[in-house]
Structures are given as structure tokens and as C-alpha cells.
Amino acid sequence: MARPMQVSRYWRHFREKYRLIGGKCENGHVFFPYRQVCPVCGSRNVEEYEFSGKGKVLSWTIVRNPPSGFEYYKPYPLALIQLEEGPVVLAQLTDVDIEEIHEGMEVEAVTRKAREFEEDGIILYAYKFRPVLK
């Protein structure tokens, strides 16, 4: 993989990726990630909205043949998580046995290392979801 010298490309999304900040429009529609135009009603009057990070697994898979750059992490579980506020987010699952993953499993967002590049590359962090701690 080429070296990710464009630090800004990753840095500009740190609020969404570290704190699950999405958007809420004037009509009360919430969505993730943040965008300028509400995907539900088209309103341009959008403010930031921080999600709780709690949700349930809607569907999941195990990535066994990853895209280049992710080989080191394989196999890894990837899921669609329905947040308690409604929107769905795609993320990796972490701190979980593959056997225990199931639809409807209650999960919560945590910050984890998403990817490393070469020795002199940057390290990316982002949300992953783990089973809710009892």
C-alpha cells in the first residue's frame, strides 16, 4: 500500500470517527455520518448530533478475504449496527467471540485502532462495537 501522507484526509473526520457525531435537521431527523443536506427531508438546516453509541446488530459477516491493507487483521467480524436513535452504521465488532455474534446482540461503541500503515505511516483510530458489558 502506498503511504498515507494525506493526514488531512483522515484527520478531517476525527469527530465522527472518535465520537460518533452525526447530524440532526430542523425537522428532527437524525443521521450518521454528518452531511450538509438531510437525507430524509432535504433540509439544509442541519446541526451536529452526538449518538449514544448503543445499538443492536442488524446483520454481520466475517471478512476472510480482505481488501489489501487489511490482511494483517483477518479474519475480522463486520456488522451493520442499528443505533438506538435509529440510523444504521457499518463497523467492525471487537472484543467478541465469533461464536457469540447474533442478530439483535446489544453492542456499544468503543474507540479502537482501525488500521496501521508501514513503519513511518500514521495509525488510524475509529469506532468499533463490542458486546455491552454486563
Binding site: S59, T61, I62, R64, N65, P67, S68, L78, L80
Partner: protein, 388 residues
Amino acid sequence: MRKAVIIGAGMTPVGEHWKLSLRDLAVEALLNAMDDAGIDKVDSLYVGNMISGSFVEQENLGALIADWAGLGNIPAVKVEAACASGGAAVQEGVKAVLSGLEDVVAVVGVEKMTDAWPSDATRYLAYAADAEWELFHGASFVALNALIMRHYMNTYGYTEEDLALFAVNAHANGAKSPYAMFKRPIKVETVLKSPYIADPLKLFDASPVCDGAAAVIITTPEKAKELGVPREKWVEIAGMGRATDTINLANREDLLTLKAAKIAAEGAYRMAGVTPKEVDFFEVHDAFTVMAALSLEALGVARKGEGAKLAREGQIAIDGDYPIQTMGGLKSRGHPVGATGVYQTVEAVLQLRGEAPEGIQVQNAEIGLTQNIGGTGSNITVNILRRV
């Protein structure tokens, strides 16, 4: 309004063409189509291709292919809509003819995928997804389809066997086509025993990485007559539709509805003045088995949640009520991504002319439909072809 007819069609076999480059493949398909029509020049060229820049470090395909096919200084551009690039390129060709700006248009779809390292190919294909919110998290394109597949099975109670039937049907037909990459029939067990790539999606639920090119020549009936192309060769492009949906799967209104296919199909049916029942065969985008099921639902062939039932009931076979993948589909013919929509078009032309290989000719076929999906359903084209 002007009409658009296809007067020439050509393709290369799909496979791992170690000896042939992207330009070799494109030129071969294009010259085949021009020979089929009996012409040696065209007004313009549209190239369907998804991602040659990443796969073979080559963009500006319009200029490249016009030059190497000896077409002179004609206008030529690449059309990109991820895996639906081919279907979209055909539509741009039709639009050029219908507009009256161009009379004889060539469309070629081409993709050269096997020059890349496999995990790089997996990465490039994922560029059709959302770079920041899907690929960033390690999502391969197969993984995204696996998420849909599991949700489909869970929601409607289908099994991996049910979906495997789509692959079995595709191979049964592809086995009889000289252009197919995998020319052998398979059994349900073949699919079930193949390794998981992204559970519950297995190797045999997925279409292969491969190379290929296909081409058609489009003009008006008046011009076709003037050029002396025999009427038996003409196939009308009677209807077409195209629509988009959210690029990020997680943002879909409903994970199990190909809304863009629904909208595109409605447009195509309306323009052609036909209903799904009148269509004799369907070339749908079975890049993954679950996509064949969802496509049949979006095209109005099956009710929501019942697409996989058609396979179980044997209705998708050549002699069934709704034949699909008549020459192998993406699974068996192969899926050279940006070329696929043009392959579907060429196959539909052969069916409608009655020139399909023995054993896979749909009897008395008059109307055929091709559906081409880009992304996880984010960019979809539907074309309806009719015998003249």
C-alpha cells in the same frame, strides 16, 4: 421520435486472458461487432469501464480504443457507473442516436482484472462502495453483499441451499455457451462445500475476477437500411431506465429493496410499453446469488421476499416462465465488471435473433431485459430489447 436499433454485436470469451491486454480485448470485441454489422466506421464511441486506472494504470480509454481500433478522430469517452458502467454506456450510445446528434454509435465494455494481485483486486472493487464509511472499516465488496445475504435469509427464512440454486442455474446455462468462463454444470453441494469468503457468502455464491470485452453498434432503422444491414440482424432498444440509491449500504431505507432497480425498471417498462409478464427472458446482475433474488423482486417478476422462491420452483430455467442468466450470467459467464452490461446486451441480441447456442435458446424470444447493478445497488440500469 427516432428509434434505436442494434445492428452489430460481438464479444470475446470471458476468462483469464494472460496473453491479452485491455486494449487487445476491447479492439477484438469492437471489430467483431463492426464486422457483424458489416461496417468499417462509426460516428462515435462510448466505453463502459469501471476501474482501468487502478487495474492497469490506464485511463482515457476513449482515445486509447478509438486509436487502436483504427476509428480515426471520432469523439470517444469512457462511461463509469461502477459495475453498471456497461449498461450505462449502452444507454449513452442510445441517447446519442435518439438525440439525432450521432447516427452510428459504437459501445464497447471492457475490463482487464487479472493483471492485479488478488487482494488489490478486492480493494479496487470496493472503490464502488463508500470509501470513507465502508472501505475505511475494512469492508470488501463481498462482505457488504454478505450482510445483505444474511439479512435476506433471516428475514424470509431462506437457507444457503435456496440461494445456491441461482448459481446452479447459471452454470447449467453457461456450460452450453462458448463465451462463458466456467463451462461446467455444478450441483448445490458444489456451492455449499465451497469456502466462505464472507459468511454466509461462499466462493460459489460469487462471480469471478476475470477479463473480457463486448461491443454493440447502435443506429436508427433508417440508417440501418441505408447501410444495407439485413433486417434479421436488427434488435430494437425499446426501453431504458436508470436510477441511483445511497452509496452507503447502511444508509438504505430498506436493505432488502433494490429501489434503484425498481425505479429504473418502471422507466424501462413504461418506455417500451411492456409488462414484466411479456418479457421472455431476464439477464439480471447476479454478481452474488442474493442479488439475483433481490433483482427479480425489484423487476416486478417476484413479490417482495419471494425472489428465491422462483429458483426453488424451477421458474428461472431456460424452459421456465422467467428464464434468467441464459448464457451463464455473471456467475458462470463471468463478471469483467465494466464490461458486464454490454455482455448482457450482446447475449440478449443473440437470443432475440435466434442465434443463441444450442440448448440455451429461449424459444420464440421477442422481448428481453438486461439489468446491471453498480455498487451494492447504488447505481442501476435496466434496458429492454425487442426483436424487430
